[in-house]
Amino acid sequence: MTAEPLLRIRGLTVSYPAAGAEILTSVDLDAPAGTTVAVLGPSGSGKSTLVAAITGLLPPEARTGGEIWFDGLALHRMDEATRRRLRGRRIGTIPQDPAVALNPVLPIGVQVAEALLIHGLAGRAEAGRRAIGLLRSAGLPDPESVAARYPHELSGGMRQRALAAAALAAEPELILADEPTSAVDVVAQAGVLDDLAAVTTGTGRTLILVTHDVGLAIERAEWGVVMAAGRTVEAGPIRRLASAGEHPVTRSLMAAAPHLRTARLRPGSAALPPARAQGRQEKRGRPAELLRLDRVSRIYPPAHRADEPVPALDGVSAVVHRGETLGVVGESGAGKSTLAALALRLTTPTAGRVLFDGADLAGLRGAGMRAFRRRAQLVFQDPYAALDPQMRAGDAIAEPVRALRLTGRSERAARVREAADLVHLPVTLLRRRPRELSGGECQRVVLARAFVVRPDLLICDEPASALDAAVQAQILQLIVDVQAELGLGCLFISHDLGAVRQVADRVLVLRHGRTVEEGPAAETLEKPSHPYTVALVAAAPGRRNPPPPAVSPAATVPPGGIHP
């Protein structure tokens, strides 16, 4: 870094005096022109605050200190009007969650063209035409039609691309991407990042990539900056950070990165005495069949009456045995969530049958239905959304016991404590409400709520995707442990192939509602035979990563990672 960097931050602080909170205590960052810099750190380390400080969009009550230099301009001394003219024109921002970052009541094309209009770069008609071109180069098929649509009519991946198109409309030199892909599936993620890479490399543009996904950072960035508790703790070439990071936070981040090469987690490694876990294993023998989906199809009505109805699932078969985990992978729109809804009888198949313990779910009524509701439990992606914000953790865990009238009041408390114990949730946290808990703690509450009724089948829909890598690893371990302890059958839905690799025994690959491939997890993900699975594995971040130092020694893995 010899030349003057495009962005230079020195001793940046951000605090909220009214709340007595210091979010950033000391941040230094250099972003050389034409490079990609990854800002890494666990959640709560201040990454998003850093982005807001660079754009000047912190809440009005925030107080800032330190220096931010952008291309020789002192942003920290600049008045709002001048700064506003930089935003969108020279500094572009791609925000985190595409579901909420687009205005729901304006057509996509208008939102993409907006920066051009604001900065007087084009007239109304010209901006509209340019927006269609921008959408096309962001990789959206049929951009004319997309431009006329509203955000809710697009998939998550399409929205993320539209946002990128909107942020890049005025061709800014500095692009701030705040977790640009944490809400989309691997294939869309790879596409969005490829598009970003295409506009940055060779054009002299600079990309600041904020992420908690280490695999992605290693793959996409040249430089890395590690943040912890509001300060930058380490910076340097990303590969050096990955292989020889010195700060403990760097090392733990790198070690926790999920990896396609990591083997399936073994139960008992943390939770249970090994003897107990083994006892289970021996007793198991030939596992009994728990859930069977027999050539199920589910067709939803089309969005427009004149369109053909689209099958969300089309003749898919799957089996889950007791004590076994079936991983379901695929892009968004592949039918993963529909599969879960069918297995839980939240919806019924338009063709085919779903058998639970030998009984057809379609025939369940009354008591049989209630028994099934106890035996099959669901865990969602976003633990905060899955919990009633007004309800204390203990009450949330007790709720299914109460709803299903399983026990009396006194035993209920014991059941709650037992479930909390199972997920390593300290009893002191049971009196707290969701907002007083961390994401990992909340997801433990959700898991305890599922386990408290002693189910036979656990259905996890992206249970760890919203969490930090380190917390994610703990949650996955927990699921594996409890599964072994209770002998659960588990349907594990995720777009994160690394996570699936860690928990699944077998894998089902879905695409456009059809089965692409099915087989043992290790074989399917390491030596995929179907071209689509090959592409899916290739799109997964971490494929090209150097192996995490703590898990496997570099010598055993060929450079360039696993190849089919």
């Binding site: 969009l57 506003r84 935003r87 970052a101 205005n103």
Partner: protein, 325 residues
């Protein structure tokens, strides 16, 4: 069949409107049934109550005539069907006091009421929305604080107090507008202001708190990250997203403005539905009450239809969920 162009929503909108119209039929029936029930819900014998005060002597002949006229001598289902049939022909019966057709009475009173309600609504929207937008845009902390507290004050002012105060200042003291009557638009100003103030307060309150919440939304930050000015962000992005609850609220308020403007109409000596209701209540004129109840019910149904249609213009998501639900 033509595949709808994305963005072309009028077809879906008409389909939705048709469905809402079908759904309005049972509601309509419910409303007129309740109106019919009014006479039968009076404790005691309605004819006795209508004719006299307390246990005073009642002419048996008049009583029989009234009983026959109101069809109270026939079985209940007969009465109900006859009421519906008359209603279908637009016949709401005659006033007991004057013998005039109820429909004529309502038509006469509805004119001034509509004028008053319309003016009050317009004023309330202008004042309320203007205040909320100004409070959001102003750089002055003092003005922002004042404008965020004013709505609650406006909502809590009692109508009779505001009306009297306005009369004192503008009619008696300054002589700018007539104090009484319904002649001309000038006489509508003061009662309209009286009704508009609490309405403006409610609108400013709901819109203001909606805008303050929207300020922190992701899409607002994204718009600002594109370089949009505060004014542009507010007018182009926040206002339409915040408008839905305001439209709902305004819709429900219009109904109460039509029938509930009793205080304003009494103080300013204006004819109108409110006055008609009070008068009919005082004289136990049940056919009139029945008619007004049916009329206001139908009006409310029409307003909520209008509100539903407005939603589809404000929020494109309304259309797509409405079609498949």
């Amino acid at each position: 069949m033509r595949r709808p162009r994305p963005g072309d929503r009028s077809g879906i909108r008409w389909r939705m409107l048709r469905r809402r119209l079908y759904a309005a039929v049972p509601v309509l029936l419910g409303v007129v049934t309740v109106a019919f029930g009014i006479v039968h819900l009076i404790p005691g014998d309605p004819v006795q109550i209508m004719l006299g005060t307390g246990g005073a002597f009642v002419d048996p002949e008049r009583e029989a005539a009234l009983r026959q006229e109101l069809r109270l001598d026939r079985p209940l289902p007969d009465q109900y069907l006859a009421f519906l049939a008359a209603l279908f022909r637009g016949d709401l019966g005659q006033s007991l006091q004057t013998g005039e057709p109820v429909t004529a009475l309502i038509a006469e009173a509805a004119g001034p009421s509509l004028a008053l309600a319309g003016t009050a609504l317009l004023l309330g929207l202008l004042l309320g929305a203007g205040g909320a937008v100004l409070g959001q845009l102003t750089g002055s902390r003092v003005l922002r604080a004042v404008l965020s507290r004013l709505p609650v004050l406006a909502m809590s002012l009692p109508a009779y107090w505001v009306a009297t105060l306005l009369l004192q200042i503008f009619s008696f003291h300054l002589g700018l507008v007539p104090a009484l009557g319904s002649t001309g638009p000038r006489a509508t100003i003061l009662p309209a202001v009286t009704l508009a103030l609490p309405l403006a307060g409610v609108i400013a309150h709901v819109l203001g708190s909606g805008l303050r919440t929207a300020e922190r939304e992701s899409y607002v930050l994204m718009a600002r990250a594109k370089g949009a000015t505060r004014t542009r962000v507010l007018l182009r992005h926040m206002l339409r997203n915040t408008a839905v609850p305001v439209v709902t609220l305004t819709g429900t308020t219009v109904g109460s403005l039509l029938g509930g403007a009793v205080v304003a109409e009494t103080i300013f000596g204006r004819p109108g539905l409110g006055r008609l209701i009070v008068n009919a209540l005082q004289h136990h004129d049940y056919p009139v009450l029945q008619g007004i109840a049916a009329f206001l019910g139908v009006t409310m149904i029409l307003i909520s239809l209008l509100v539903d249609v407005l939603y589809t213009y404000l929020d494109p998501r309304v259309v797509s969920t409405a079609v498949w639900r």
